[in-house]
């Protein structure tokens, strides 16, 4: 079915509730509906199996307009249908759709906290991103939220113990995070355990939320490129690539073929670095440090290659709006090929280790199994979904940039357990290596950049990129000025959390770190207020005192 046909099907499905149809771009359909009709419209798309809910974007149209908008984006291959709900600024309420589409919970909680769009029927009322003592009617992503309001928040802090330890005779709440050896980034999970068995799981994010989306609204398009690169340290290139792609679409600028090829090449190297890092972390969570050390040693090869090409190891800044800034010469090309040869042998070796090492299999085979229907229901993305046999890969479903010319093949597994997730990721690397070789062998000639206007024409667009962890979704809106009106980022980790929370229940506590690692979480991606406790003198300190000290210590 072509994209056009898909959009027509969607339009027919949504006809009963359709108030206004907008076609912002060729592959997109915007249908304006009444808030009351949202639940029915979403379930019509969901029941017809028209794609999956990819993101919910909240938008503030300004104080004068007195309106908020919520956009429910459904993706089906390259076709995107957005349900646009217009709401009054005061008393905005939408019904929840999490009862039919579970991953919507996180998106709904985000628009509720950030934009003050009340979600009727949402089961969880705790804060996901904002501090617990955040005042009830201050919404940080509304346009009239000022920096003065944010500063006032810094002096106020909740005074409470994390949560009660013992809840029953043999039942405890085990907190994992925000600071915990299993997590390399701050996030908080509380697992209720009965002996060793987990009976309930809860999650809290926002410890590293810096308000990047808000920050973009006061920076120029070029400055924002560098800001988005810093959303995530592991997949910095894909973030910058998604943002550039979106801005280029808005400006209707064609990126030179050579620049696109280099973008895919760097994305491929980034995938190798990200997946090897993940393999190490997973091995460490399982208590197999030897594999951890070896996989990170081999990861250095790809880090050195990235450094050689771009000059940086982490935030490579390979992209500029309209192209790339780094050239791949003969010397680099040779170095990359040599590096790939070494990496391919190592990846094959690791593939053998994760499928044959009996002790490691003890901890991965049959653990956290997600069946294909469950993966669909949870709305999983990326390798986590592909390990369950769900063919979801933006590079293949909706090829972008150089992926049209240098396609990659789809890798899926059927078991859906941790072993399958290891296998999928490693096989995917072999596929990536193959694609990178074909790019190096057939590199198109030409310039590296196209000229970009300083002011980006008014309009809105969606850019989707397959990051190492799954589909990365960017929604960009411009009003024709030098700065964007709204950029919404939905990272893949946010969609994959549901799998951890659902699958941890009934498992042993020992499997929990593996389950968390299994979806390759990236907290900094999700967050965009850190409180640290520190004690240095010998006294009896209450929790309150400890908190105050810490706050004082770090504000110095």
């Amino acid at each position: 079915m072509s994209t056009e046909q898909k959009l027509q099907t969607a339009e027919q499905l949504l006809a009963p509730w359709n108030k206004e149809t907008i076609r912002p771009e060729e592959n997109r359909l915007d249908v304006v509906i009444q808030p009351e009709a949202l639940h029915e419209a979403a379930s019509a798309l969901h029941e017809a199996k028209w794609g999956y809910l990819s993101a919910i974007t909240g938008m503030d149209m300004g104080v004068e307009a007195g309106q908020l908008e919520a956009l429910y984006h459904f993706c089906n291959g390259p076709a995107i249908t957005s349900l646009r709900v217009r709401l009054p600024r005061a008393g905005a309420v939408v019904p929840t759709i999490a009862d039919i589409i579970p991953p919507a919970t996180f998106f709904e909680r985000e628009i509720k906290e950030m934009f003050g769009i009340k979600v009727d029927g949402l089961a969880v009322t705790d804060h996901l991103f904002l501090p617990e003592d955040w005042p009830p009617d201050v919404y940080p992503q509304r346009v009239d939220f000022t920096i003065e309001q944010a500063k006032a928040m810094e002096v106020s802090h909740a005074d409470q113990m994390p949560e009660p330890g013992r809840v029953g005779e043999n039942t405890f709440v085990v907190p994992i995070g925000p600071q915990h050896p299993a997590l390399k980034e701050p996030g908080h999970f509380s697992f209720t355990v009965d002996g060793e068995i987990v009976t309930a799981a809860k999650m809290r994010l926002g410890y590293a939320h810096r308000g990047i989306e808000k920050a973009t609204e006061s920076r120029s398009w070029v400055e924002n490129l560098y800001l988005f690169e810093r959303v995530c340290g592991i997949c910095s290139h894909t973030h910058a690539m998604a943002f550039s792609m979106g801005v280029e679409q808005l400006a209707k600028v064609e990126v030179p073929a050579r620049a696109q090829a280099i973008r895919e090449l760097v994305a491929g190297l980034e995938r190798v670095h990200s997946h090897l890092l993940w393999l190490g972390v997973t091995a460490h969570e399982a208590g197999f440090d030897t594999l951890f050390m070896y996989s990170w040693r081999d990861r250095e090869t790809v880090m050195n290659l990235l450094e050689q090409i771009t000059g940086n190891r982490v935030n490579y800044s390979a992209n500029v709006l309209g192209g790339v800034k780094c050239e791949i010469g003969d010397e680099q090309s040779k170095a990359i090929k040599e590096g790939l040869t070494y990496l391919e042998t190592r990846i094959r070796h690791y593939l053998e280790v994760v499928t044959t090492d009996a002790m490691f299999l003890n901890r991965t085979r049959g653990i956290g199994t997600i069946t294909a229907p469950e993966a669909e229901r949870f709305g999983l993305l990326g390798p986590t979904a592909r390990a369950s046999g769900v063919a979801r890969d933006v590079r293949i479903e909706a090829p972008y940039g150089a992926y049209v010319r240098y396609p990659v093949s789809l890798v899926t597994e059927t078991n859906g357990d941790l072993e399958a997730r290891c296998v999928v990721r490693l096989k995917e690397l072999l596929v990536s290596c193959f694609a990178m070789r074909s790019i190096l062998d057939n590199m198109p000639e030409g310039p590296l950049t196209a000229r970009m206007p300083r002011k980006i024409p008014a309009g809105e667009t969606v850019a989707r990129v397959e990051a190492p962890r799954g589909e990365l979704f960017y929604y960009i809106k411009s009003n024709g000025g030098e700065i964007p009106v709204r950029v919404h980022v939905r990272t893949p980790s946010l969609c994959n959390w549901v799998s951890v929370l659902e699958k941890a229940v009934g498992r042993q506590l020992a499997d929990v770190p593996m389950l968390i690692a299994g979806m390759d979480p990236c907290f900094s991606c999700n967050d965009r207020v850190v409180t640290v406790e520190d004690s240095r003198t010998s006294e009896n300190w209450s929790w309150k005192r400890l908190r105050e000290y810490g706050i004082e210590y770090y504000s110095r």
Binding site: F172, P181, V193, A283, Q508, L509, A510, D511, N540
Partner: protein, 307 residues
């Protein structure tokens, strides 16, 4: 034996300071070997010593809701247990300072003292990581203790004595690793379980429960528990090598045999993935205990039929 010599034996040589220093040395060998196997550089030779000095200098933080006597007393008991156990074993290949009939049983129980202290220490604090760690420590104790005891019982049966020095003497003429290979393997793996080395490090699995039972310990208390572990390592290596590897009759044979054994143990540590606590218990009772019982049965029958 007068009081002065007793004090010297207990506090300076061969137990006490000498044992602690030897423990640090063996800990360094273990860490260095594992590091090399894992493609790392590993610590310098004085690192365990530096760690101990640093911990001594650090403040010991006392949690609010604990029993202070237990909190401060347990590390001392743990270290004392390990140091006392050294009095009955042929440490450094020398004759044990004390020897009596049945000292094998005493030694094994003294060696369990540090583990039990760690379990109690975890139970004493209200930290949830400590509680889970303590439960796992004690669960693991029940898993490996009986097979480990049975594995040391094999040599005792053939030597016809419960006295460590006599078994050591018997073993010098009989390499029991050849006649009781299963017992040897169970003893080595049991020792790894006792020391909570990987793959039996579930009680202190950092990615789940921080440092397990010792999460709330810092400074001196933590150091004493660590030293008790190091001392246990040396004593355990001495026991297993004197029983199975042809006995110990001098400093040379002690160093060679224990270091070979440690080398073997560090290979296992770097090759194996951590077992979950249920897998640990399953492994010991489904395989370890049954195999070693079969071994003992064979030994008894052999003793009975061969005059």
């Amino acid at each position: 034996m007068n009081t002065l010599t007793s004090i010297v034996t207990l506090l300076i040589f061969p137990a006490g300071i000498t044992l602690i220093l030897a423990g640090m040395f063996y800990e360094w060998i273990d860490r260095k070997l594992v590091a090399r196997f894992q493609n790392r550089v590993g610590p310098r030779w004085f690192q365990p010593f530096a760690d101990a000095v640093k911990l001594l200098a650090k403040e010991q933080i006392k949690p609010a809701i604990i029993n202070p006597y237990l909190f401060f007393g347990l590390p001392i008991f743990a270290l004392a247990g390990a140091l006392t156990a050294a009095l009955y074993v042929p440490l450094f290949g020398l004759a044990p300072p004390h020897s009596l009939t049945g000292d094998l049983v005493i030694t094994i129980y003294l060696l369990s003292l540090p583990t039990m202290c760690i379990g109690l220490a975890g139970w004493n604090t209200t930290s949830r990581f400590s509680l889970i760690g303590a439960t796992r420590t004690l669960t693991q104790l029940f898993a490996y203790e009986a097979p480990f005891l049975l594995a040391l019982l094999g040599p005792a049966l053939v030597a016809g004595s419960w006295q460590i020095s006599e078994i050591n003497g018997y073993a010098q003429n009989h390499w029991l690793i050849l006649t009781q290979p299963i017992g040897f393997i169970v003893a080595v793996i049991g020792l790894m379980g006792k020391l909570e080395l990987p793959p039996f490090d579930a009680p202190e699995a950092e990615t789940e429960i921080i440092a397990g039972a010792l999460t709330e310990y810092s400074g001196r208390g933590l150091m004493m528990f660590h030293l008790a572990k190091s001392a246990e390592l040396v004593i355990g290596l001495t026991l297993v090598s004197s029983f199975y590897l042809g006995g110990l009759n001098g400093i040379g044979s002690f160093l060679i045999k224990t270091i070979i054994l440690l080398f073997f143990m560090s290979i296992l540590q770097s090759l194996l993935t951590r077992l979950r606590i249920d897998q640990t218990v399953g492994l010991w009772w489904r395989f370890g205990a049954i195999l070693v019982l079969a071994q003992i049965l064979v030994t008894i029958l052999w003793k009975g039929f061969m005059p």
